[in-house]
């Protein structure tokens, strides 16, 4: 290829693959989905299951707005291919409340005014639920460090840390 050329090799056209069947248990309910291989878990949740609480921010794993729990662990759903999670348990923000009672983290976020616009909040709360389950954060410094994958452009960080500390105390380290 000539120097300075930025022409890109385009692979031979391939037939679009058929959709694949994936079974996910989402917020305790088994759901069968038919998805293309390139459908992310985020798009599957929002566009296939109408669970729009999980937010698309950067769509590149940099902001944390898409954070959900997969088999109890927090992950970026925007970088997760739905087909790869066949058989997994997924918990989204819609699945945290128990019989109409807010999850301790949801209640604490309200009490501490831990958001302004609210767009990052579902990801913050799911991430915090994962953090509490991991049991590695004790101090405020450790909470800040282990929540660094969730960006809040309104800058509610001090109140987010306070809300997590409150919920962590109430939950005794269990999510």
């Amino acid at each position: 290829m000539a120097q300075g050329s930025v022409a890109r090799k385009v692979p031979d056209t391939i037939a679009p693959p058929g959709k694949l069947t994936v079974t996910l248990t989402v917020n305790g309910v088994e759901r069968k989905l038919s998805v293309a291989p390139w459908t992310t878990l985020l798009d599957a949740l929002r566009d296939h299951l109408d669970l729009t609480g999980t937010k698309k921010g950067c769509d590149h794993g940099q902001c944390g707005a898409c954070t959900v729990l997969v088999d109890g662990r927090r992950v970026n759903s925007c970088l997760t291919l739905a087909v790869m999670k066949d058989g997994a348990q997924v918990t989204t923000i819609e699945g945290l409340a128990n019989d109409g009672a807010l999850h301790p983290l949801q209640q604490a976020f309200i009490e501490h005014d831990a958001f302004q616009c609210g767009y990052c909040t579902p990801g913050q709360i799911c991430s915090a639920a994962g953090l509490i389950a991991e049991g590695k954060a004790r101090s405020a410094d450790e909470i800040r460090e282990l929540m660094s994958g969730n960006i809040c452009r309104c800058g509610a960080y001090p109140n987010i840390v306070a809300a997590i500390q409150q919920a962590m105390g109430q939950m005794g380290g269990k999510s």
């Binding site: 290829m1 000539a2 769509d59 590149h60 970026n76 994962g130 969730n150």
Partner: protein
């Protein structure tokens, strides 16, 4: 994202067979880097071979007192593994200095080794990049090169390897176990990644159709005197401008053995036997640490926006060796550097 086929590998032999059958297929495990690069149109595989169901998820002690880490062990599990915390705290510290907890939960051990550079021109398909499009030129050499390399660069590429974990693995003399159509082999960690030279499209010395199966650590873990210091533009969740992994074995008032590896400064984790030899038998003091830093950085060369890295690296090396010698490793949550 482009359309692609998806297949799940049933076992190791099946994975190797499937990758060999399709030259433009790629393995996927955690996907944290690959899916991102596919969204950016930088990686365009025809097929993804999902290896996440392969039995490569255990951390096991080896007969000679070392540790064998399966390629699919998530980064977070590895950092918090009791044997890593006890015997190889340098590795745990380096892992926790990288990415976010969500990404560490997803990212695999093998994938961490194989992640690609975060050079912004590599990601921007509208610009020339020899790594993405060989022969097209390097936009970074005369571009915005604040994040780029100061050691081992070539006229073709000044990208850095972005991993923190790999810096610790290089310092700890890890070995990479791989399997391929020709069987299995092990590669010394410092021989796994390449310098860019004239072929910056090749990040590693993996042969075509080989798969990383495990990373093995020798018995010596330097658990008493180590530190991992990462200097970056944000306090957390940012790639290194310079990072230093230091490990010392002290005997009386002398250094019996020293390990020093740098991240954020080269196309691979940078280790220099001459700098480590300069410390051997010496007293662990600032003067000797400065001399070792000068040896390590003797060929360092900055570009328009990253010349500051040479002095930053020198100071970071001295600080990290001091932390290691004192037995006061850098905390990855309290960001104060003491």
């Amino acid at each position: 994202m482009i359309n692609f086929q998806y297949a799940r590998a049933n076992d190791l032999a099946d994975a190797v067979r499937r990758i060999a059958a399709d030259p433009s297929a790629k393995f996927i495990a955690g996907g944290t880097n690959l899916v991102d690069l596919m969204k950016m149109d930088v990686e365009r595989p025809s097929r993804l071979i999902d290896i996440t169901r392969l039995p490569l998820k255990t951390v096991e002690e080896t007969a000679d007192g070392g540790l064998r880490i399966g390629a699919l062990v998530p980064n977070s599990d590895l950092a918090y593994h009791p044997l890593v915390e006890q015997r190889y705290p340098l590795l745990g510290s380096a892992i926790l200095a990288g990415a976010s907890q969500q990404l560490r939960n997803m990212a695999s051990t093998g994938g961490n080794l194989l992640q690609r550079t975060r050079c912004s021109y590599f990601y921007d398909t509208a610009t020339p990049c020899n790594k993405r499009d060989p022969g097209s030129g390097c936009s970074a050499i005369n571009g915005l090169n604040r994040m780029h390399a100061i050691l081992g660069t070539s006229e073709a590429c000044i990208a850095t390897h972005p991993s923190d974990m790999c810096v610790a693995l290089a310092a700890l003399d890890a070995r990479v176990h791989v399997a391929g159509p020709a069987g299995e082999r092990a590669i010394a960690f410092t021989d796994f990644h390449r310098l860019p030279g004239h072929t910056p499209q090749l990040d590693t010395n993996l042969h075509p159709n080989e798969i990383v199966t495990a990373v093995e650590l020798p018995a010596r873990g330097f658990a008493a005197n180590y530190s991992y210091l990462k200097i970056r533009d944000r306090l957390s969740y940012a790639f290194a401008l310079v990072s230093v992994a230091a490990a010392l074995e002290l005997e009386g008032d002398r250094i019996k053995e020293a390990r020093l590896a740098l991240g954020g400064v080269a196309h691979k984790p940078w280790r220099d036997p001459a700098a480590e030899a300069a410390l051997k038998g010496q007293a662990p003091n600032e003067g000797n640490f400065k001399r070792a830093a000068d040896v390590l950085l003797r060929d360092a060369k900055g570009f328009e926006h990253n010349a500051f890295k040479v002095d930053l690296a020198r100071r970071a090396i001295v600080r990290t060796l001091t932390q290691a010698a004192r037995g006061t490793p850098q905390s990855q949550s309290n960001k104060k550097i003491v």
